[in-house]
Structures are given as C-alpha cells and as structure tokens.
Symmetry: C2
Subunit: 313 residues, 2 copies
Amino acid sequence: MSELIAVVGLGLIGGSLARRLASCHDVVGYDADPATRALARTAGLAVEDALPAAVHGASVVFVAVPLPALSDVVAQVALASAPGAVVTDVGSVKSPLYAAVREQGLSAPFVGGHPMAGTERSGFAASDPGLYDGAAWVLCLEPDTDLSAWLRLAAVLTGIGARVVPSTAAEHDAAVARISHVPHLLAAALAATVADAGPLAMTLAAGSFRAGTRVAATAPELPSSMVRANLGAVETALAETMQRLPARGADPGPLIVAGHRARIAWEERQVAPAEIALDGEELRGRLLDLGRRGGWLERVDPHTLSVAVPEPV
Amino acid sequence: MSELIAVVGLGLIGGSLARRLASCHDVVGYDADPATRALARTAGLAVEDALPAAVHGASVVFVAVPLPALSDVVAQVALASAPGAVVTDVGSVKSPLYAAVREQGLSAPFVGGHPMAGTERSGFAASDPGLYDGAAWVLCLEPDTDLSAWLRLAAVLTGIGARVVPSTAAEHDAAVARISHVPHLLAAALAATVADAGPLAMTLAAGSFRAGTRVAATAPELPSSMVRANLGAVETALAETMQRLPARGADPGPLIVAGHRARIAWEERQVAPAEIALDGEELRGRLLDLGRRGGWLERVDPHTLSVAVPEPV
C-alpha cells in the first residue's frame, strides 16, 4: 500500500479525500487556487504548484474539480500521468464524462467514481477526513472498463472505509437523479415558495421547512451544474415524483403512508455479508449484479472480495 | 403567576408543554391513555384520571390531542372548565376548528394556538421541556377573539420562552400549508420514488435524501390528518410549488438560485426590538400587522408588549 496517490482539486471533496488518504498512503495534492494550496499545506498535506508535478509518478489520480471543468482536467491528468496510472474522478454525473473521455481517447485507464457524501458547505476549510467513513462510493463498470484498474481503486477506497458500489454510468445517473438532483429542485421550489408567501410564513418555518430546504443552502453553482449535466434523467425522475403528488380533491393519505414506509425501510435496511471470488467467472457481471441489488464492497483481498448485500424489503 | 394550568393530552406536544409549564406554574395533566398518564406521573407531573377533574379550577386549559379528536375535546373542556377559564389548543390547522367552535357556541373564551415545534417522534416518552425555547407559537386573533384572554395566553407562552405570533386562522392555515404540509407531501413523494427506483438508489441515498425525506419518518396519521384538514390551502400551495419546477427542456439554474437566496435570507434574517403600548388604539390591528410583518411577542408587561420585528429582506 505504498502507492503514491495524487488528488487534483482540494475543495470539500478532494480535500477530505487527500487528508484521509494521507493516513495510509503517500499523497500529493494540487489545486488551481493558490489560497487553497496554501490552506492544504498548512493542514500538513504535500501540495505541488502545478498539475503535471502533482500527477507525475502517481499510480492513482483522483480528479476532484467542479463538474464543468471535469473532462478537461481529466484529459490533462491522463496526458501528464505515469504509464499505467489509473485516473478516476468524483463528479456527480457520469455519462457525459464517459462520452467526453471516449471522444478524447485517453491514454490512461479511466474509471468514473462518485462518493455519496458532502455537505451544504464547500472548500478545503470545510474538509473532513471522516467524510467517507461508511459512505457509498460508486465506481463505474462500463464494458470498456479495465477490471484490474477498477479493483485497484476499489482496494484504495475500501481501505479508507468507503463502501464501493459497482454501477454502470447510466444506472448511476438515473439513481442520483432521484436521490440527489430532484431533492435539490424540490428544496429550491419549497424555499422560493415560502419566501414569496411573505414574512409570516418565514417566521413560522421550522423543522419540516429546515429539513426540506437544507440542501438549498448549497452554493447554487454545484447543484445547477449537476442538474444541467443530468437533465434527461432528472426530468424523468421529476415527472415520476410529481405524478405521485395527489391531484386536486384526491386523498393525500396513501402517498403519506407509502412515503413513511419507504423512509422507514431505508432507515432499517439490514445487510448480510458475502464473498465474491476474484478468480470466479463473470466477475464484471457479478459486480454489477451486486450493485443492482444495493450491495457494496467492504474489502478487497488477494483472492476474494468481502461484500455486503442488503436484504430485500 | 400562580395560575393553575391544565394540559389535556400528554403526547410529544402536550407532554413537553406540561413539563416546561411546571417549572413556573401549578400544572395538572390528563391523557386518555392510562399508560401515558402513568409515564407522566413518573416524570413528576400531577395527573388526573378524568378530564373534568383535570380541567376543574384551571384558569388556562391547553388541549393537545390529535387533530381528529380536537373539536370534541375542546367542547368537553369548555363544559368542564371554571367560569372565565381560557381554552386554547395546539392543533396544526385552525380554520376548521374555529368553524366547529363557533357552531358549538362554546361558553368559555377560546383562542386557537399552534406551536411551530415538533420532531418526527411522538408520545410522552419523546417529550422535551426545551421544545418551545425560541419556537414560534401562533395565537389566533379572530374578530370574535377575547383580547384579554389572548393576552393572558401570550403572557403564559412568552413566559416559557416561546415567540407568540398573532395571526388570523386563515392566514395561519395558508402559511403552514407552505412551510409544513407541502414539505410533508414532497418528502413522501421523494421517499416513495426512491424506494420504487430500487436497491441501488436506496444504497446511494445520502445527505440530500436524508434531509429531504426526514419528515416522512413521522407516524403517518399526523401529517395525513393535517393535510386533510387543510386540503384547500395545501392544494393551492402545492400547485404554486410545482409551478416553480422547471418544465421539460427549461434551464433549472434560475430556480436553484432563487431557492438558495430564499434559504439564506431565512437563515440570516435580522430582527429589531420594538414595543407596543397595551393601552394604545387598535391593539388588535397592530398585533395582526406585527404578525404579517413576521414579528412576534417576546414579553407581556403590565403596560407594554416587547416585540421583535424582522427586517425586510
């Protein structure tokens, strides 16, 4: 585990990752912003002043830059990285990035990734090495994904306590439209409706408003770029969600009961441990099947993967 | 302040209230459920085994029972209470209760109330005497409201640290449709959509799903009865909220920016102190104006009300 790992982009996501990885690997960071580089150095990280210097010699490179810059920076990293280095990212939408990567014909093996963690804050100052403890971290398995590169990344990420979830880019994008992008739109619509309702409503707003609009506190560039990049899946998911809302005159009771059941099922979901042999047949298919069943990798050993599989609800 | 105050219904809301009031008043409680009565006695509250015995001799009676039982219990309390006692409630929808109270022709002065506090838990075991610290507590001011009864209640509630917000029943119901009832419907729709999307989505669900569906963890009877009782206002508020969501092909950016501004304006709202003379003209109108500007009573003194008024955003 004495790999050199580079993290490009040291905001909340990259900064938290670099700090956590530094406890078990050699880590070098880079950020385009000199103030962020200075902050990261003060926190004890090794930081280079230029992207090629940071990436040079690293066997794994995490690209943690904002979504609009992502495909350009991934291409720069692939050009600058050592032969055989694995390039991955942490962006919240995967299909457009894969399209760009395939168009560019990257020389380095690329695996799209997405940690399901974050807060409504941003920047290195908000970073937290514990951010990924027990967090789901999607690693995409596409037909052209280098399986050994995928497994190297999975070993690094399970090593810092993340739950590595195998998924295709398209299935990931459809899922995050529902669990993240639509929630951002609903939170924004709720906050704007209450503000327009006037000062009395703002004063009465309490717990259900606070929770329902929490993600609207996020700097708007982030959710805007996510939703724009995933617009097709988001529109489908939004239409699905809106169709559930009661029509005028309809009883709202069944929706409220269904929502309650769903939330409690989520909170109380049980998982069972299992193993997948690394030299077994159809490893790619078995991994994708694990992800579709809601499962994840807990540990990568030389011959087996320790996995967790939720019990059906 | 040596009034005897009765609290009928000792769940989360009534139990928290009785426990907090007991630190500065004589308090007697009652609950229809013997197990709840036993629990409340164990917590040190004086509890009667019958409603008339609890209400007898009290100068203020809080009715804190579930919405479907509310108007019946308010009528029972009014019959059993001492002459001049003030009856109030804590229900989350006010117009239907006022309609029932007027139809019944209550003998006791009635003031509808609604504390903007609660959690997704319920029952006396979840009660917390600190629940109302700094919480908005609507007291309705209708054309037929006894102003001295209203001020007595306002004194009791500001005395336990609540922010007393004057409002008409209709304006209250329109506001809570937006800040509470629509959020419950959106949370339910979100939770149900994600559950139906399958196990992968359930595994990826993290912070924005957790916050956006938090209130769906509430026992469904409570939000169902609130939404049903306020259905007209909720349908209007829901239509307003849905109209803000981007149409197919539209840029979601402006909504996300508007929602962010609204949430931050709510978080950062500043208030200024002011006073209202109790012997001034048009006290009723000035109180309702205060509520419409988002203001509240902080303290009731013999000749003045100390109030807080939010600065316009």
